[in-house]
Symmetry: C2
């Protein structure tokens, strides 16, 4: 389902960010309204977006989604062409690549952290990876509207192109020797690659990586959840950048 | 539902860790078996635990759970008394307190990271917080069997007691001045407090904290997911400990 956005915060984010055009908003008649709902109505009114209050029964078809009485009908997600991304002007670009993150909650959660950390894009393959759908949007808390989304047919080709364009490829791999904090993330373009929940990063991509890093485990146990692992690495790069710039943020 | 454990990895973890007694394991007749299933059967046989192959229909009542054809019937979760935890011998103890983490996926995910990071216990209130149930167990990837779980009636009283016992209380708060990496996590007992998804840490607990820390946001956006935020702070403490001990882990 690419054409609905569910929930008060998500619809609010959608309206304020405005990357996707909203054709209609439906609100549940008789629901308890809060300030978020009033804001949504105000924005819709200002922007001339149709909104309707409908009875509870009309929401039955959406019962599997946590919609909180607010649903927006939207245009499909806008993806950015990889070549257009390369041409964007920026001193250093920071990217997350997901190589087979299949759980939509994990995928959304990674996008959310990437936005909080000021990253520029999420690059993901069109197969064997979650796509941007309503669950991903919800798990991202609307973050998919705040970052460039680049869906590609061949990650391998894209990784080669990134390398040609002065990006350093940082692969997270449980078997790596270096810890994630052993490398310097400052003053360079880089892409952090996260692998699939079950099998990690594919060998093709792993071989092309400039760095392989792991997150140390202090107890013999399965492993970290991929979204948590991504957060740990992403924020090590934030920390280094903030400390280096002397920016208290 | 406190008395079932679903899924191949979870049941395997349960059997190998052995903190909860398993009364029976049911397996789906005709399912595709893998090495995990064989291991489960071997362990059950060795430990004298009853296991049965049942037809698919018998699993209908569990259809809302991702059981992968393997379900264990278990004794309720064993909680540890706070006083018993204090009496355990260890040079430094590291604890996570959740003050109102309501989403069971987030709660399970936090427990998983805490185990990977070698933390000693999770302390959580009996109200306004997820309890340990099948969803939490699954989200924790079985980690709830590898750490002390301490459920308390009053977090406020427990925080006072922790302070009396030389624990430093570290509260994560979006309004804090210090960043999470500005403090030294080494050579001390500490408790990291994570607040609720919506409202953060309650004022009572916040006032008792020795440190308040935030995670810097590099883009104006909502905020991090609580489980990801927990991972970032937990792993800063791991990093400092590993670097200080010169332990490559």
């Amino acid at each position: 389902m690419n054409d609905f956005v569910f929930g008060r915060n998500n619809v609010y984010e959608l309206l304020t960010e405005g990357k996707r055009s909203v054709s209609k908003i439906i609100l549940m008649k008789g629901m308890k309204e809060n300030s978020k709902v009033s804001q949504i109505i105000d924005i819709a009114r200002n922007k001339g977006i149709i909104f309707q209050f409908l009875p509870k029964e009309k929401f039955t078809q959406f019962k599997d989604y946590s919609h909180q009485g607010v649903i927006a009908y939207v245009s499909p997600v806008k993806y950015l062409d990889f070549e257009d991304f390369l041409e964007k002007e920026k001193q250093y670009k920071k990217v997350i690549i997901t190589d087979g993150v299949e759980d939509p909650h994990n995928f959304g959660s990674i996008i959310r952290t990437a936005v909080c950390a000021g990253f520029d894009a999420i690059i993901f393959p069109s197969r064997r990876n979650a796509t941007i759908n309503a669950t991903v949007e919800k798990s991202s808390a609307g973050a998919i509207n705040h970052i460039d989304l680049i869906m590609v047919n061949s990650l391998s080709t894209i990784v080669d192109k990134l390398k040609d364009n002065n990006f350093w490829i940082i692969a997270t791999d449980i078997r790596a020797k270096d810890n994630y904090y052993d490398i310097d993330y400052c003053d360079m373009n880089f892409a952090i690659v996260m692998g699939s929940e079950k099998e990690g990063i594919s060998n093709t991509i792993l071989k092309k990586a400039d760095y392989r890093i792991k997150i140390p485990m202090l107890k013999e146990f399965d492993s970290l959840n991929v979204a948590n692992a991504a957060s740990i690495v992403i924020y090590e790069s934030v920390k280094q950048t903030v400390q280096k710039s002397g920016n208290g943020v």
